[in-house]
Every structure is written in C-alpha cells, then in structure tokens.
Amino acid sequence: MWRYIIRRIFLQGIPVLLGFTFLLYLIITVAPGSPVTHLRGVPDLDTAVIAQREAQLGIDQPFLIQYGRWLGQILRLDLGLSFDSARRPVIDLIGERMPATIILSLSSIILGWGIGIPVGILSARYQYSVFDYIITFFAFVGISIPSFFFGLVLLYMFALTWNVLPAGGFFMAGEPHTFVGYIRYLLLPVLTLGLGSIASVARYMRSSLLEVLNEDYLRTARAKGLRENIVVYKHALRNALLPILTLMGFMLPTIFSGAVIVENIFTWPGLGSLAIQALNERNYPVIMGINLMFAVLIFLGSIIADVSYAFADPRIRYE
C-alpha cells in the first residue's frame, strides 16, 4: 500500500505537476496583457520607470528563464512575491484566504454528500414511487440552476425580504466569533454551493444502486430468503458506493471552482476574489500559486479515492 502511494506520488504526481505548471506558465505569459497595466495613467511616468518595474518583476526575461526562476523558488518551497504594488509573499495571500475557502467547501461537501447519498439510496430503494419522482424532479432542478442565480435568489429571500440572515460577508469588525454566528454566515453560501452537489450525488447514488440491485448475486440473496432491507443496505450498498468514491475525487475541483463564484456573491473572504483579481492583473506568481495548490489538492484527492477503493472492495489490493 505505502509503496503504491509513494510510486503514485513520485512516478506520476511530480511529472504531471511539472508538465502542468510549465503549460500554465506558458499560457499566462503568452496571453495578451501585462502585469504592469496598472501603471497606466500614472502622471508624469517615465518609460524608464516601467522598464525598471519589469526588470524587478523579472518579466523582461524570456519565458524559459522566468519559468526556471519560478521553479527554482518552488523547489525551495517559496511561492515568491505577488506582482501587485504591495509585494506581499504569495504564501501569505493564499494562507489568509485558505481557511475561509476550506470551511465553505468542506461544509458544502458534507451537506452535499450527507443529504445526497441517503436521498439517492431511498430513491433507488423505492424506484418509481412518488418519493422517487419528487426527488428526481428536484435533482434536475438543482443541477440545472446556476449557482450565482440560486445565490441571488437566496439573498433576495433571506436577507432582503425577510432580513433574517446576513447578506454575506464574514464577521463584522467587533462582532464576537460564536458558533451560531458561523452558522448564520455560512448558511446561505453553503446552501448555494451545496445544492448542485446534493442533486448530482443523489442522481449518481440512485443509478449506481439500481445497477447493482439487478446483479445476479442479489437475486441469489433474495432467493435464499433475506429480507429486502438486508439485501439493499448490507449487500448492495457497499458495492454501489464504489463509483461514488471515484465521483468524490472528481467533484473536489468542481466544488473549489464553484466556490469562486459563490464567494464573490456573498463577499466570502476566500480564495475566489484573489484568483479572479490575479487573473485580471496578470499577477503570475499568484495565479501559479493558487493553481499549483489546487493541482496538488486534486491529485491528493484522486489518490485518496483510489486508496479508499481498497477499503471498500476487498478484491482490490495495491502492491
């Protein structure tokens, strides 16, 4: 098992990450626009000052040298300094926003999976029942509504019309950080972000379980006189969960990218606004830092999904 994990990381992970960062750096430097665009309009500015700035940032160098320098920093575990006027370390910029993004994403994953899986199971267990149709209907609605729209609808109802929940943001200055406070601020963004995953997890769970329910070994189980509940929850469910684990690995990045939009609507102090700002300003080190971090997370997510197969399915062994 450990040998497998180490092999995955060194033989697969590192080359993939290298290729990814190389391509990404190439794309952002080739794309039109420059990191010094914000100097446009500075009164009495001399071209020499712009050139000096470009030299400081290293963007006067050819692509390969720029990338090489960046990679050298990464090997020393340094994400570099941001290109904006404050020149703060990229690791700080990400570190300050990471907790908020993780809280939001984890909560919506818990919400999505915590509700989606049981609903999907019940929906499959009672296939073609009224309950199943209702769930199917809402699942399609949930998948179809774009999150920014759903977020605005929630804001309109809970914040503007009824005025029972804050219109986004995090704790106000001077407001004590209480558990209830966290719930109040989290509720709307988590619902917005979680809705889509509840719906799709429920759909996947339903179809995966239905597929398993038609297998021969379940017919055998029923034939030997087991009660339907035991057949479904004990024999079928464990097998039906396997594809769902894969799904988890795939959905992680979707959750994070969905968070970018939701954070923007709800003034949530996460990575979303930093990512968008960095893209607009061609802030290379910040774009690279955020993407590298997500790439690593997604890669780890896929390893965890693969490893968890081994626990769910005794036939799978990694040697």
Partner: protein, 537 residues
C-alpha cells in the same frame, strides 16, 4: 382665551425644540462603516502605494503638509502656512509645532524631508519621481551623481523649503502625500522599503490609528485620542468590503453607513427610507480615441463629422439614465479650469455629419459605405468588456455610424488585453475613461511627448498652452490658458469626448456633519470628513 395661551405656549415649546435639534451638537462615539467593493492590498505607505483602496487607509492614518478641499484647492494641514516666492521657484512650508505620530514621537521637518527625499532616491521602487523631478538637484540625486538634493532644505525643525528649476504650478497640490515617520524607517535601505513590515502596520500622524487589516473582510481603525486637530467624533472606523451585488442589502441591514454606488443601483437604494443619496460631478471623463496615425483620422473634418453623427445626449439620457454630462473637451465640469465659453457642443446632427464627410471627399460606394480613393470608411472599435454601459454605448455608436455610412466593427476585449493593443498602437478607435488628479494640468495625457497620449495627438498650439499652464502660478491666468487649450481640443477632437463622470454617494441618515452639497469628492470630501462626522443614535 386660556386655550389660545396654551396653543401659543405649545407653539413656543415646539419652536424651541426645533432650535435645539437644529443646533446638532456632535455626539461622541460609535462605529462608522465605510463600504468598499475592493479590498486594499496592504501597501499602506503613501509614497509606494498605487491602488486606490490602499489610499483610503493612508488617507486616515497619515496627514500631509496640505490637504485638498471640496473646491480642489490646497488647504493647510501639517503645514499651518506656506509661502511661494515671487518668481514661483520656492515654496516654504511652516509646520505646526507639537504634531505627534501615533507612537508619540513628534513630527518635524526631518520627517517631511525623509518622505520626499525617498521618492527621489536612486533605489526608490515607486512611481512618483516624475511628480517631483523639477526640484533642484532631483535628477542628479536620482542618477547618483550627487549625494544630496539642494531643492529640499530643512530651515529648522518646523520649516522646510522646496525649490524648483522652473516654476511648476501643479507642484503645490502634490504635497498632500502622507508624512512618514523617519525614526521608524530611515534605517531601512530604500530598495527594501517595499517589503517592510511597516507597510502593513502603518504609523502616521492622522486622525485614526490603524488597528487591523483582515484580508477581504475589513480594515479597522480607532480614534486617535491625541490627534493634533482634535479627537475624531466616532470611536471606530471600519472599511467594510461588500460584493457589488449585495450593496443595497448591506445598506438596508445597516451593515455599512456609506458607499459609492453605480447608476443602476440608484433606484433600488433611493427607495431605502433611511439612506440618503448624493449625486455629484466627478473628476473623470470617458472618450472614444481615434488613432491619428491613420490618414483617415488625421483629417479633422472626419473626426468632427463622427462626433456630430453620434447621439451622445441619447447615450447619457438612455443608457446612463441621466448619470453623466455630455463632454466636449477633456476638462470635467468639476474642475476649476472647466469652461463652456467658446466650446462647440457638437449637438447630434447626422445630416451635417454626412455633409461634412461628403465635402471631405467621401462618397457612398455600391454597398452604401462611404469611400475615398478606394478606401472604405470602415474601422475597428476596441471596447474593453465588463461594463454593461460601455457595451451598450458601443452598440449605439455602431448604429449611429451606420446611419451616416460608416461601418464600425465592434471588438470586445478583456481590459488588460485591450490596454496591450492600445500600448502597441494597434487600434483604429477604442473607448476608455480617465480619472484625473486634483490639478487640471493635462500634460500627462495630451502633451505630444507624453506616455499616455494614445491617439498620437500633436498640435503646436496645444503643446504650447499645456507648457504655459505649468509655468503660470497665477490661478486666474492659468484658468485663461486652460480655457484656450480646451477650445483648441474642442475643435481638433483628437478623441471624441463622451461624458464627464457623475458619482453617487449613498449614506445612512444617522451620519451627521457631512457636506450636503458635495463637490467632486462627495459628501465625505474623500475621507477628510471622517474625523468630523458623528452618529446620531
């Protein structure tokens, strides 16, 4: 009779109470929340920052030698007075005695000298050298050929003299930069100042002390109890980040007391009972620039005809919902240098436009598009995306041009990419807008040698007037020069001017002591009134 007396008494009491409430004695205490849609970056250093919202923090933490009032004129601040020499070459500032930084150390001429010397230093990483390069010896010091700047001279602890190589009228209003505490910074090499910890934990001599900067949430300040000019009325000041979409709800829930809103939010916000809105003219204008390097745009008749052919009033009334003023020269109505005298308004007149084009030799081709010597009057119009108003304006422009036989091809592009094209001069026409500095000096945008002269405009009279305007220190004479200059530009139209900006401030009615008839800086005069306002609840 008795009843009458009661009524008279009642009236008397009522009028008394009106008088009392009208006096409005400032109340101490409370928290004022100032909404912003973009968070600061954390460069709270007056000589290094470039982002507007970092400037917001700097505005309340530091004080400058002077401050700019609602009429855009310099007023005393740290300097209680100043003196400009007869020849306009020397400015001497007399500082208040007893002003202290937030750490208790007194502010002296030493700190002023440090602040401005650093801008001129060879290793300085900021962008403000050009503003002060006319100080005597500044260039030599920058180049490293001289170790001092003779143009900055400390006379005594409370007197400092700046001298220039030539008179430079815009200079005085550039002395508003916050004064840095030399005792905390002088030991840091200038080249490393950019990454100094100080920039995140600023210490100035301003009305508010910096408390906390929480990324993408808020910046908090407390009243400076020992502020030289008197303690602020409010206890706590917060810059609160708000997403653009939720501004009206934040106002409704009293989560912010003030914010600048966009025209499309005006109706929704003005419906909120406890929020007052103020509309004021801003120091900005938007334009459509012609690339004068191209032969067809080099003809003034073509530029004027295009301007006659575009219904700019309709654009302001319909698309901007009235929030804007049609512009005919690059000098906003909010500026003291603005003039309407002798300015052609170029009222929408497609017939006249067509005639002018025909006189200039453009005749309709078989497809209805005008042509001359085999060249069609067809051009690309570069439009940075992201603003609904700009995109709609572009569509209206395209339609109006089609009516007079000009084909416009719209090219929507992400802002930074569009700037790339403009910088490379690879455009036919493009639209953007300029926010202007306090001083009306148009040199940086319109002088033929300037970096931001994107159209490539060169006109001898214009250049001469711009240069004269810089040299003339008499306000009235300067006004005249700029009026002449506006008339030149109004005729030449190196760009078509669309509209002067109008800003809207939304403020909670509990906030008292604001400028109820706001100038270009709005009801809080930028952030200057923050230490004088109070909260009535």
């Amino acid at each position: 009779m008795k009843k009458q007396l009661v009524i008279v008494l009642l009236l008397f009491v009522l009028s008394l109470s009106v008088v009392v409430s009208a006096q409005e004695v400032p109340v101490l205490g409370g928290t004022f929340r100032y909404g912003t849609t973009v968070n600061p970056r954390g460069m709270f250093n007056p000589i290094l920052y470039t982002e507007t919202y970092d400037g917001y923090v700097i505005d309340v933490v530091y004080d400058g030698l002077i401050e700019i009032d609602a009429n855009l004129q310099p007023q005393p601040k740290v300097a209680k007075a100043w003196e400009v020499s007869e020849d306009g070459l020397e400015i001497t500032f007399y500082l208040h005695e007893g002003i202290r930084f937030h750490d208790g150390v007194e502010l002296t001429a030493e700190d002023v000298a440090y602040t401005y010397m650093t801008i001129l230093h060879p290793d300085y990483t900021g962008v403000r050298f050009g503003t002060f390069n006319m100080l005597v010896g500044a260039q030599e010091y920058k180049d490293g050929t001289q170790a001092t700047v003779p143009g900055i001279e400390i006379i005594d602890d409370y007197t400092i003299k700046f001298s220039t190589n030539r008179p430079h009228a815009p200079l005085l209003s550039s002395f508003g930069y916050g004064i840095l505490p030399a005792h905390l910074l002088a030991h840091i090499p200038v080249g490393e100042l950019e990454t100094a910890e100080f920039n995140l934990h600023p210490i100035g001599s301003g009305p508010f002390k910096f408390v906390e900067f929480l990324t993408d949430q808020h910046v908090t300040f407390e009243a400076n109890e020992e502020y030289f000019f008197g303690r602020p009325n409010i206890d706590t000041l917060v810059y609160q980040k708000v997403s653009q979409d939720t501004i009206p709800i934040f106002l409704q829930q009293n989560r912010i007391d003030f914010i600048e809103i966009s025209p499309d939010q005006f109706l929704q916000v003005s419906d909120l009972g406890h929020i007052d809105t103020y509309i004021y003219e801003a120091l900005s204008y938007s334009y459509i620039a012609f690339n004068l390097r191209q032969e067809r745009f080099d003809d003034v008749a073509v530029r004027q005809a295009i301007t006659y052919g575009f219904d700019r009033q309709l654009y302001v009334d319909l698309i901007r919902e009235g929030f804007g003023i049609v512009a005919n020269a690059p000098m906003p109505t909010a500026s003291w240098a603005y003039t309407s005298e002798g300015i052609d308004p170029y009222h929408y007149d497609p017939k006249k436009a067509a005639e002018m084009l025909s006189e200039a030799g453009w005749t309709p081709g078989s497809d209805g598009i005008l042509q001359k010597d085999g060249e069609r009057l067809e051009f690309e119009f570069l439009v940075p995306d992201g603003s609904r108003l700009t995109e709609q304006m572009a569509l209206l422009f395209q339609q109006n041009m089609e009516d007079i036989g000009i084909k416009v091809n719209l090219m929507f592009m992400e802002f930074s990419a569009a700037v790339d094209r403009v910088d490379a001069r690879e455009f036919d026409t493009f639209t953007m807008s300029w926010s202007l500095a306090v001083d009306p000096d148009p040199y940086s945008i319109w002088h033929s040698t300037s970096l931001w002269n994107d159209p490539g405009f060169y006109n001898e009279a214009s250049d001469r007037l711009i240069e004269q305007g810089r040299l003339e220190t008499d306000l009235e004479k300067r006004k005249e020069i700029y009026a002449d200059w506006q008339r030149v530009i109004n005729y030449e139209l190196p760009s078509m001017f669309l509209n002067y900006g109008v800003a809207i401030g939304a403020i909670n009615e509990r906030v008292k002591g604001i400028d109820a008839d706001p100038g270009p800086y709005g009801p809080l005069v930028g952030r200057q009134l923050l230490w004088k306002i109070w909260l009535a609840d």
